[in-house]
Symmetry: C2
Subunit: 252 residues, 2 copies
């Protein structure tokens, strides 16, 4: 399993060279990735490829101007899509019934599995990839810019190009932090100390704390990177958008 | 890229041999899979491994008694988990603020990418895997059975073992069905006909229509496999559970 070494050493790439990426390569990788598991073989996703300077620039504000959007060879917006399937139903004397949250979950599952499989294939083909979690923050703006109809929701965006950097090994928690045997085993304070010790001891973590004027690494997350005000404002926005997309009821 | 042939030919495996799967192998694959992309390197997931007959049997009803649950060597329940991260915050003088839907989306993204990466590694190691989309239908029951605290939500279950069948090539839509250039291009009736023609012409599709006494393949989905009454009932249930888990507001 020599090629499996790739899995442990893969890294996010945010800087891309000018080396051209061919449409044919991306198409080949997307087609292969579409063999990832999918709910009832419905393939409840679409991917929208932005290649031109104009198309990439149009997406940039929704991703808060992160430079990898305009610098990538191609920006791929992966969407949960029950619209195409519903259109097929309409054309086949069948009444589609996918304007609900379970259908959104199924489509989200399909979309992310597809995106992850594409990511693996792209990285194994020598490309560098960065995932933009900002996609659900500004899903409405992205959907408008890309002409998405109801029952289509952008879930994750991947910027893709040949790497112009090595990327950084940011490490991961030990397996014991994430794997439970039989039942979920809750975390004592002592256990948290053990599981996060290596992460907190890293030089980059300590620099992160210092640069942000905080006392703990966790405070960098709660106060700076993912603070309550942002989480709540973007959640409200996303719920409104899911309602207008048809996947979420108007009232609970 | 010879090993990439795997990607196009992978299949769901529902029947498993008695050949033992080692805990060490699953741990090795899970650890490698944890290098999949994750939001802010927070690893917002947990996986709960059921190995014993009792643990697998306990999960069976939530998956409607599908036989692969009890027949698998191991059943892995992948959960969106903001609890562990929040526990870490609490232990580090930081106030966690992840009881909202964006946090659920970030954790869902991390969880599915991790599960998909595990799936790829497991299949490349010779294991067979089946994904159980029933996980979100009965998330509440699974969470109770596995002692999950708030901010932990089961998203997808994988049954895993050495294959005792070849699996079936169920085919996929042509790339043109799922990939859009620049903007989302809506589907005309004529386009739907073209894109679904191959799928509808398959012998297994035609048999499916006949066995279910329907006129079109789409009707098998809307009337039998994913009917409105089920979709809506399980959506209501899932929304209630997300509310009790803390990820969804009590009212909209």
């Amino acid at each position: 399993m020599a090629h499996n070494d790739y899995f442990s050493s893969r890294r996010t790439i945010r800087k891309y060279s000018d080396h051209a990426v061919s449409h044919e390569l991306i198409d080949e990788l997307l087609l292969k990735a579409s063999h990832a598991p999918t709910t009832g073989n419905m393939q409840l996703y679409s991917v929208i490829a932005a290649w031109s300077v104009e198309d990439k620039r149009q997406l940039s504000p929704a991703h808060f101007g992160q430079p990898q959007v305009e610098n990538a060879a191609v920006v791929l917006t992966f969407c949960a899509d029950f619209h195409r399937f519903s259109r097929w139903c309409e054309e086949r004397d069948a009444e589609p019934c996918y304007d609900n949250l379970q259908s959104f979950m199924a489509a989200t599952l399909d979309t992310i599995a597809f995106a992850q499989q594409f990511n693996t294939l792209a990285e194994q083909a020598g490309l560098g990839v960065c995932w933009l979690g900002t996609t659900t923050y500004n899903a409405q703006e992205i959907a408008s810019a890309l002409n998405m109809p109801p029952l289509v929701v952008p879930i994750i965006t991947l910027t893709v190009g040949y790497p112009a950097e090595d990327g950084v090994d940011v490490g991961r928690l030990p397996l014991e932090a994430i794997r439970h045997e039989g039942k979920y085993c809750d975390y004592s304070g002592q256990r948290i100390n053990e599981l996060y010790a290596e992460k907190e001891a890293r030089a980059d973590s300590r620099m992160f704390v210092k640069e942000n004027g905080k006392h703990t690494l966790a405070q960098v997350f709660t106060d700076v990177r993912y603070p309550r005000a942002n989480n709540e404002a973007f959640s409200e926005k996303f719920i409104s958008y899911l309602q207008s997309s048809g996947f979420m009821p108007k009232t609970l």
